[in-house]
Symmetry: C5
């Protein structure tokens, strides 16, 4: 989060629409692949220069250009010029610190989404920005690095699985969004597992690791929520919007993604509830244990303090202490001491302090 | 909740509309029953093959097909083809981890609901998905296992009790939804009993079992809420929607189910309030008891420590301690000790620490 | 609240519109009274059989039928048939565990309200259901037991006080609702008094009774809120609704009741704020007192423990302890002991721990 | 707040529109002043009988009648009759326990506002009700006692300062509302000063007076909020309403008052935040101090308890204790005692407990 | 915040539209600069008298008048007269304690914004008011002191960088707003750094400085939020408003600023979450440390108290204590003492209290 504020400040003062890559350079080199398909044919190739894409622009078939790596601004600019994209779209693609959003530029629709990963070693949820621009016969997707979430869709296009080959660019855009939202469930599953492990770890005795772990999960869930929450509006705007680019059959599918998004949000909220309830149990069991310790220890101390006083009395050196000379004083003192101890213990027990 | 995230991830990457059964296989075999009725006649049978249902499709009478068990995707697919259902409806039926929702596909309306059970042995509230699809003259209901909540409705159809035989498929669909919502009250009743028992258990002394029990109830109420809350929108969308499938007389009844749903939500919120108030009382009475213990014990210790000091003084072995030789020293010391003790006790009492 | 869930479950499985009395049988026998009035005449009588009411139905004068006691379903049914009420209205009248609501059935409007009482002996706020049905020239009110909140309205009708005799059935219905809402202020007043007493009781020393008392008030306010909150919507729906049954001059008065309802809700919220602030003060003053006790007691113990150590030193029996033989050892020891005590006290005081 | 509930209950059972003065009798006698002005002339007088006001009614000039003191219901009633006010307006004027509201009666608009004062001696914020009724050429204002907030407006009218003489009765009504809202800033300023003093008082050591003081401020802010919050709706209803009584140039000014009201609400919320943050700091510094006390005291006790044990050992009277006879035992014991003490202190210091 | 209430009260009682400078006099003298440009030419100068600006008013080129320093009311008044501004606009410019707002006066639009600075030495976020008025061919900006946030825009105008020279006054106004919003990211970045430092400072041991530091950050974020939150509405009102002054191409850019504002708000909320989570960790680690101290110390005390009692027993001076004379008593006592100590330690360890 702190990271966000840092990077964004680099673009301050630039005129709007200026291309400036905000974000880590995650890919070595920019990789552009192209798939062009209609119901009958599929053509797929990885292009060396982005200019190879432009001939597809005027074909009626659906063209999907996927760009991995955003640091080569020239590529973005060339695409922008070729497809007539608004400068703010290009700025939005290059600046990877955007909120998910959907913008209707009449000729094309611009969508910003977050792809989520959990890093192997820790709880951190990493968000990568995916931008989509689509017009009547093309979809251009921009990713920060080479990913594989879209591979399944390529597979479906190649094998004409499902309806994808029969439908237009809007359905392809929907499929990409759907793939990203589906991927959220995997992240949620991992976090859900961690929550479960934390919860089970509470049972015998609370462990001090629980506190930072819940804090980590809490933060992961907050950042997840920031990525997913705006999506709700994005997709509902999509579904209800009146753009001619989105045809009616696709709207039904968008409603389905919308339902998935709501389900993701619901699950995030439920996980948040569970994490904060783990925290509550942890804190109250810590304080219960502490109380128990203090109680038993204080009871021991309390029993022996009066007894020590009795012993102290007969340790005094007065010359005239008649008891000191009596034959059975010592035995009596022991009886008194044991009696007082037993009485106190039974009093504590009756009061249910033990 | 964690369970949800696990199962759903299995379908990731499949093209939308793909049939894939998400959920436990709760029924041994798929069981299909059919009731066909109009004001004059009722025909009821359990069919071996789902194909036996299709002739009823074109009859003007109301046909209710009930499918128990969702793991045989072929059955769902055949019904889908016969009744012309959208692939997303079929996917929604097979995937039992959906949020309650209502979708209007013009020719038919698709409703997803949650049937709730409390398992005998523990607090866990188990939700089973019930999907309804209804058109102008049929209702198809899908359940995860053979249940008996709908038995009462079958009874009413057989005996022409109430208005059910006089009205159309929309009224049948309403009746099924009503039966499910009515069933929530039984779950609420059981949870309410548990809350009451917990509350009564607080009175003499707080018990350590209270903490996990309230946590269990809290979680049961959260999961209940997740099932019921979306229902509010579902039924209100139903009632206010402009679908031609729902006739005006039925809308009045839907308003009634809506009121029941609000009442269920109200009761859930009230139970949540009560549970969190039980937790508050529990925690503050625990800490009150602890405080009481500590106070009494500390007071005992505090009285005897100064007295032990006095005894310690006259236990010193100095050669020149004139008091040691005085005749009444020992008696005086006892008077001093008792005096100091009484003074401290009365001071404590005046300060209302005892 | 728990009570609600219990009773409602008895009706589960009955067809909608089935008459079933849910609630305690609060009245011995059903009592039906009738007042028929227009600007010129008033006729008032208690009827033996409900059939005596029906002749009034077709007279242009306003007829107010009041039914005390709901357990005789035959009475409700007869009225329903005579006035052509929808079965759901009759079910709603008999089931006393409803949420306040307003339903427009075109020919008549059905209103469910809660009359509130505080039981003499405890804090419990008891809600009794009052149902009103009114058409163009009649109002029928159903109460669980014989009450006296409506007596003032009867008085006004008899004496032609105010405008009531000049206006129609909608104004009568408004007057009944107004009487019920006005009655809430009496309940609020009693709760307000209790809050004030609790608050004053905090001042010298917190009392242990405060905790259960605030919990009781909290619950009373929650249940009150549940009865009053839906009223807001009910009355605003009334006022803004387009039913031809409610004439324009009456709408102005409904706006007034609406304002009163908002004021009741405001006062409930303010009382809730006060109760939770009483709880905060109580808890923090309890813990302050505890801290004070612990502090003073620990200070006493701390001063005497080092002193007892000094005394212990010279209670040792070593043969070669030169100090034991010195002439002024004992006096010096006393000086040391007093000096150490004074030093510690002044240190504590300087640190403001005393 | 409790006060509210008490007074309002007196009117229960009266027919709506009945005049009944609810509130303390704050003014000795009712005082009626009148200012009549147009762009050219001003006429100002204090009238003995309210009847003297009525001739102004039919003049085209703007007439402002101000009534201080509400207990003489005859005055209110006469004005009501003369200006044709709805009975509910008159009831609303006499009942001073209303929520701020705005009601459009077509012929005139009725506004209820709260004037706020801080009493000199304590934190209590006192609210006085001000009612305004205005028609096309008159404004009638009702106050509970003779105030001076409106004096500035009288001054402006007399001296034709600003635009007031050039504009109609709606601008006068706006000016009165503006004067009341402006006055809130003075109350806020006083409360702000108190918050600042409280905050500065936290710095060296927390004082026990902080707790009741924050509670007092909290309550003052709650009551302020109750008075101001509804104003938001009132003025926005005013500004957006379509009443012909409010002309377009005046609407711009109403937007300005609206902004002020939002600013008042903002400031109240900010003060509430500050007060609760003061409370948090207070409570955590109290508990920090307590912890510190307990820690140091416990450390002292802990060091001396083992040392006292050592001394106790050599205070035993066994005949065969070889150490007692050794030459350097006593010196060694001192070394051991000092050594143990130093070791424990350094351990504590290393663990950073000191 | 307290400051706000203080200054505003000075204007109370003045007629609306009265010019009165509320705020500190931040600039030495009022400085007026003017830039007049169209696609071909730029003219820039600093004027001595504000009258020099007025000739530009009727030129078709875009005129940007920037006023630094608000205490010379004559300047504001002259501009107001020359450009025909509503008195409330002038009042709003002079009163620097306004909430951000946007007001459409048809002929011109008035915008109030807050420029934010962090003072070098402390956490305090300082807000300076910037007012913009723009019409079809001019923008007038008012600042409290000479700033440099707008320098970049001047640079762009001079060098015809970006589109600014090709577009109208609405684009210039947008650019100024954009510069201010961009500047918020710098403030957020500084606060983000502080949050990060605080968080890292928690790790080894909590420091007492954390508490006031989090409080300072909390307050800075609250005040930031107050400045930014209303902006959301301002800019969305701008974008969606139907003013003819804002042309369609500019609206696209306004949507972009809107997104930035949402992002600023998001980041503020995230920082608030982090600060309150730092506070939680701080408080719970403080109390954990305290618990640990208390536990270890109490254990030490508890072990030695029973042992001291045993020693006390054999320090008694009874004549008939047979053990005193036995040969191995002393050795046995040591064994008993060590045995009891070991037993207690192992008991504590088994109970996991150590």
């Amino acid at each position: 989060m702190v990271r966000i504020t840092k990077k964004t400040s680099q673009t301050i003062g630039l005129p709007p629409g200026t291309l400036f890559h905000v974000g880590e350079r995650k890919a070595e080199s920019v990789r552009v692949t192209i798939i062009d398909y209609d119901q009958a044919n599929v053509e797929e190739k990885e292009v060396k220069s982005v200019d190879e894409c432009f001939p597809f622009k005027d074909k009626p078939s659906v063209t999907w250009i996927n760009v991995d790596g955003l640091h080569d601004l020239e590529v973005i600019e060339k695409i922008g010029t070729a497809f007539g994209l608004h400068p703010l779209i290009l700025e939005g693609i290059a600046n990877t610190e955007q909120r998910p959003k959907m913008e209707d530029y009449e000729q094309h629709i611009f969508v910003v989404l977050k792809m989520l990963y959990t890093e192997k070693e820790d709880d951190e949820v990493v968000a990568e920005q995916v931008s989509l621009v689509f017009g009547s016969n093309f979809v251009i997707s921009f990713q920060e690095r080479t990913g594989d979430v879209f591979e399944q869709i390529r597979e479906r296009i190649r094998n004409a699985k499902g309806r994808i080959r029969k439908m237009g660019s809007d359905y392809l855009a929907y499929s990409l969004i759907d793939a990203i939202v589906d991927n959220y469930f995997i992240v949620l599953e991992k976090l859900g597992d961690k929550v479960e492990i934390l919860e089970e770890g509470l049972l015998p005795t609370p462990k001090p690791e629980t506190l930072p772990a819940t804090q980590g999960l809490k933060r992961a869930l907050i950042s997840l929520r920031r990525s997913v929450w705006p999506l709700r509006e994005v997709i509902s705007g999509f579904e209800r919007g009146d753009s001619a680019l989105i045809k009616k059959p696709t709207r039904v599918y968008l409603r389905d993604v919308y339902d998935h998004t709501i389900q993701v949000i619901d699950t995030i909220e439920a996980l948040r509830d569970m994490v904060s309830s783990i925290l509550d149990i942890y804190l109250s069991s810590i304080s219960n244990r502490m109380n128990e310790v203090m109680k038993v220890l204080t009871i021991i101390a309390t029993i022996f303090i009066p007894l020590t006083f009795i012993a102290g009395i007969y340790g005094m050196n007065f010359e005239y202490m008649p008891e000191l000379k009596w034959r059975y004083s010592y035995a009596i003192i022991w009886i008194v001491i044991i009696g007082v101890g037993v009485l106190m213990l039974s009093y504590f027990r009756r009061k249910r302090w033990l």
